[in-house]
Amino acid sequence: MKLGLDEHAHLDSPLHHWETRYKLVGLMVLIFAFSFVQDLRLLPAMLVVTFALYSVSRLPLSYLLTRLRAPGFFLLIVAVLLPFLSGSTVILRIGSLALRQEGCLDLLLIVTKFVSILTTGLVLFGTAPFLAIIKAMRALGLPPVLADMTLLSYRYLYEIGDDLETMETAMGLRGFRARRSGRGGHKAMPLLGVLASLAGTILVRSYEQSERVYKAMVLRGYGHSPRPRDEFQACPRDVVGLGGVLVLAAGFVAAEIFFRRFGG
């Protein structure tokens, strides 16, 4: 099982070379500036900035399209409901359904913000190895317990995922078909019982493995040796990059405030 998070982390682009701590702060501030925007006039600028960032990152377009597919279901629900339920200005009537102007504008705002934030997030997490991002978070003040838990969970996620696949295959080979419930299949309660045992077994196996992992970690000095120093080193280019993105983010916030006060 591969989750492919570091798939494009080693490409050669200015965003890949940007020091991870600065990139994390800069792009997270930009993401929050995007979420602050409510004025429709700022949406084109938001899309331009987002896709400029994505093209500078040299991440393949297929990567973005695959990642956008997963939350597509949410977008579909919003797209179907909002234009018909929200607002009072009817712009088109199809039988008993009324297409409303406010709903269409709400939809435009939500979808644009969603795509911009998601794409910027992909640039952030697609242009650096996951390990480097957690180290950068630790350098920026993430509590050690959270950093250790995140790294250990990430390390064993792949293994435990493979364990689940193996167990499901073994169950299938022994005649268990979860999808054949109901008529001709398993009765509801025994089926739930089997799936609960499957979930329980995953927990028990991880618990037993964690005891061995802890002993191995203690043997290697975990909890006794000083924490390694973070290896980040920023150059002037990183600082300039951060400054540029912060100015951009401040520009969006300032423009939003201006439009709210004086934009009509």
Partner: protein
């Protein structure tokens, strides 16, 4: 249940991060009170990964299937580690599968994590009801099942309620009051069967753990 990016106002997202920060601080403070807090980190981490994987198990409900949230079960098994575990799980969901979002991570962690902590305290009431006796006893098993059900269904129920209230009151849509009220009722009613399912599943898992590895349920 995972509120995506772009839908909530920035102020709500920032408030979500603030409540998550406070709940994480409180959880870590309780964890650090233990004699050797580092000893339980690998255990909590591997169980975090295991819960993440276990939530991929789909329960077939013809013609479709649902996956469970398991935040009540997480609270019952992990105690104060449940909040950091949920925060980490949601972070993985957001960056690996684009479920939930980066701006809404704080809101989602609060919505799922605070009920998990409540579920932990509900499940601990089991120790008040059955103080003595062999864990294999019939009353012991019955009460474990009952409190497992309450933790599982309550965890999901409170989370669903929090998410619904948040969505309905903060989404920047021009919904009229009637539509708003109708959607709250419809979504609340739709969650009742899921609460029952989550409760039964949690009860079955805690009974399994009680039988196979009872120390996993000890405080």
């Amino acid at each position: 249940m995972h509120i995506p990016d772009g839908i909530l106002p920035a102020a709500v997202s920032v408030a979500g991060y603030a409540t998550t920060g406070a709940a994480t601080w409180y959880s870590l403070r309780r964890i650090n009170r233990k004699e050797n807090p580092q000893e339980s980190i690998p255990r909590a981490s591997l169980l975090t990964a295991a819960f993440f994987v276990a939530s991929w198990i789909h329960i077939p409900i013809p013609p479709t299937s649902v996956h469970l949230v398991l935040n009540g079960l997480l609270g019952a098994v992990l105690g104060y580690y449940a909040f950091p575990a949920i925060l980490i799980g949601l972070f993985f969901q957001a960056v690996m599968f684009q479920h939930g979002g980066l701006t809404t991570l704080g809101v989602n962690a609060t919505v799922m994590g605070v009920p998990a902590l409540l579920a932990y305290h509900v499940f601990r009431l089991r120790n008040v009801v059955v103080r003595r006796g062999d864990p294999g006893d019939r009353p012991h098993q019955v009460w474990t099942g009952v409190f497992g059900f309450l933790a599982g269904s309550g965890g999901l129920g409170i989370s669903a309620l929090m998410a619904l209230i948040l969505l309905i009151t903060t989404v920047p849509a021009h919904l009229d009051v009637e539509v708003e009220r109708a959607s709250v009722y419809a979504l609340a009613v739709a969650h009742i069967p899921l609460m029952v399912l989550e409760g039964i599943f949690t009860a079955l898992v805690v009974l399994f753990l009680q039988r196979v590895r009872p120390e996993l349920l000890e405080d």
